[in-house]
């Protein structure tokens, strides 16, 4: 197991290096500079700004010094927010985005898995069709439609929940969590239905039933364990996706998270910010993939066995 983790971590290094290098040169190749504005900026001002952010140096030198800073955990200063470092901006936005992603994940798991399991228990009956059709709608409905719709119903018509904000008013985290989580809930529902259907026809389930166990024990203890393996494999990338994909929800609900300035940074040509967030998200994706692999091994006896035999 230890060797497995170490080798996976080592594999991550070239991946990240490629991401950094590609992003570094791509942002610089994009037309339009970080300091251009509608009202033409005086050349001497541009020069002073470029000198300040080392943009007057040759590109390879900028690249090397960026790698060097990065190795020391320094993402550099943000171009758009003069007094802020990229580290500071990421550190400020990350807890909020992570919290949002966590709640969205809970919503997704609870709604998704229970719908999937219910559907799998009585396949091809209304108990299957209803949640699965709902899941299809959930997959199809984008969050920029779902969000405003929920706000309109629960925020403005019923006045039950706040329409925006994060941690300012009681209950203001509910709508964003549901909006972000619903698409994933739908996906999880389909995955867990498939997984459960396969498992429930296995011999060991029949054995469990033959032992006279009550049906709910059979389902929850024996069925879920095998049925959820595809779900768990999906959770790692899904969580990374939730973290990096929260832009729309953060904009709709006015949430001061990471996703929002990831996208803004690209529009602003805030080179260091684009790089910083990209590298950061790339690392997260790698780590969460690794994490879900580890959990899969831990849960799935077949994989564990393979690993022990030196595979």
């Amino acid at each position: 197991m230890f060797r497995f983790i170490v080798s996976r971590l080592l594999q991550a290094i070239p991946v990240l290096l490629v991401v950094i290098t590609a992003t570094f040169f791509l942002v610089r190749a994009a037309p339009g500079g970080p300091f251009s504005a509608e009202k033409t900026v005086a050349p001497e001002v541009i020069k002073a700004l470029e000198a300040q952010y080392k943009l007057d140096q040759p590109v390879w030198q900028q690249y090397l010094s960026y790698l060097n800073d990065l190795a020391h955990g320094d993402f550099g200063p943000s171009f758009r927010y003069p007094g802020r470092s990229v580290d500071e901006l990421i550190a400020g936005g990350l807890p909020i985005t992570a919290e949002l992603a966590f709640y969205a994940m809970l919503v997704a798991i609870i709604i998704g898995v229970s719908a999937g399991v219910l559907a799998a228990l009585k396949p091809n009956t209304p108990q299957d069709y209803v949640p699965m059709s709902a899941a299809m709608i959930g997959i199809c409905m984008p969050s920029f439609l779902m969000g405003p719709l929920l706000v309109l119903i629960f925020g403005i018509w019923l006045e039950w929940l706040p329409v925006s904000g994060w941690g300012d008013l009681p209950g203001d985290k509910i709508l964003p969590a549901i909006t972000l989580g619903s698409g994933y809930a739908a996906f999880l529902a389909r995955l867990s239905r498939g997984g459960m259907l396969e498992v429930m026809s296995q011999d060991y389930i029949r054995t469990a039933r033959a032992k006279g166990l009550p049906e709910w024990v059979v389902v929850l203890k024996h069925g879920l364990r095998g049925g959820l393996i595809p779900v768990i494999a999906f959770l790692g990338p899904a969580f990374a996706g939730l973290l990096s994909g929260s832009f729309v929800v953060e904009t709709i609900f006015q949430i001061p998270g990471l996703g929002r300035f990831y996208v803004q940074a690209a529009f602003n040509r805030d080179y260091t910010m684009i790089l910083g967030t990209t590298v950061f998200f790339a690392t997260l994706v790698v780590l969460f993939n690794l994490l879900s692999d580890i959990i899969a091994v831990w849960i799935n006896p077949k994989l564990r066995h393979q690993l022990r035999e030196g595979k």
């Binding site: 339009g32 005086a42 001497e44 020069k47 003069p82 329409v163 009681p170 998270g257 529009f267 602003n268």
Partner: protein
Amino acid sequence: MRNKIFGLTVLTTTLLITTLLMGGCSGGENNVTTGNRDGILHWGNGTDPQELDPHIVTGIPEHHILTALLEGLVAKDPATLEPVAAVAKEWSISEDGKTYTFKLRHNAVWSNGDPVTAHDFAWSWWRALQPALGNQYAYMLFPIKNSEAYAKGEIDDFSQVGVKVLDDYTLEVELNNATPYFLQLLDHYSMFPVHRPTIEKFGKPDERGSLWTRPGNFVGNGPFTLKEWKLFKRVEVVKNPQYWDAGKVKLNGIHFHPIENVTTEERMFRSGQLHHTGSIPIDKVATYKKDKPHLLHTYPYLGNYFYRINTKLPHLSDQRVRQALAMSIDSKQLTEQVTKGGEVPAYTFTPPNTLGYNAKSAFEFNPEKARKLLAEAGYPDGKDFPVTELLYNTSESHRKIAVAIQQMWNQYLGVNIILNNQDWKVYLDSVGNGDYSIARAGWIGDYVDPNTFLDMWVTEGGNNHTGWSNPRYDELILKLAPTIPDRAMRYKLMAEAEAILLEDMPIIPIYIYNSKSLVHPSLKGLQPNILDYVLYKNLSLDPSLSGVNIH
């Protein structure tokens, strides 16, 4: 192990339920109600402020916050936009209009108790001109003698710049020319004073982004002081008891909410989270006009929407072609049916009634004449008209306008124009490099004077980008008008210049912007003006109107 999954499921369920029920339904009071009770104004403020250093920032959201935190020598009367006393209690202007002497009030102090003196202004302006600071608005100081040469590094000696401290409370400013709008510039943030000891405590004077602007560090001289700056969340300011006119300040504080998305902002307003929005979604204007006109505030704005024409291209270098294009745009129909926000069709470049200045409109919507001009230029009914692109930066509203105008040109002139949209920064590059045929543009005046609209069109002007040049125009704008202190005389020369511009048509004015906002009835003291200028010390909140139905 066997029970892990089961346990995990139970745990997550419990967690989720607790989370979501945490606080349950809101049902509590909204920002407007609590704000009215506590005297806190909730202000929708557009994008997140980049910085709070007046010599670094460039945006309107920053402008709003800084006018609450700092105060210049003079301010403006929001009703008339004429200068009123601020830190300077009085001033005199020499006969030739070139020397201004400001008498500062003795009771103006910084929020830490230090007196605000003439030295503060001299030092602040020195700082604003430091090249390393990268101040994009340094040019606002350029009417001051030798300041431009100093900012560009042509002279090193600041004592040659026309700023002189006569004593602690007297400041003399010498200008290059009589600049009748000089007083207008003084409440622009680039001319605001900053507190020298604070800046020096946190870094070098010309250091970008030192920590002096953070809450707890910031020392200002405005009616409010900085209390909290939560990134992407809000900036909170509270009443400054040290402010010389504190007795007149009615609000106890302001929360500036950065909200980039206008739709979100409108929803926040409707749910009582904001007293005032910075804008309103275009497609909601008509509904508000019809159902809730008392909430919708619109007013002409000192800015315009126009198209630049690249006069360097062979077919567009023909004045008749440019006139034909301009005369076949029905901007009345465009503003009524496409933009629909109450914008005013523009037939001049300077918005009408810019502090008493009115240019003569030199063109009108006249498709017949346009067709004739185009035929004279060699393209009867648009035949053989070269491929021409209309460039705009990616945005739904720019696209709608471009499509409408594309159709008008096709209908009235028979020419086919290709639409091209580019991301903002790419678009800026294309326009700046003259890599376009016709390009959408907007211009917001820096101060209330026709000069801010006209000096950009001089030959090789930094914002010209059309390749257009006219010697008489340059002479009027650069040589003749600046030397005349008399407003009416000067306006006459300006109008002559604008007539040349509109006759030659390197640009097509389309409409005058207007400011649009939603205002809660409990917010009192707002005075509409073409600068959308707000004097926060005049505002107040009426708690008896908290419960007014705004749905």
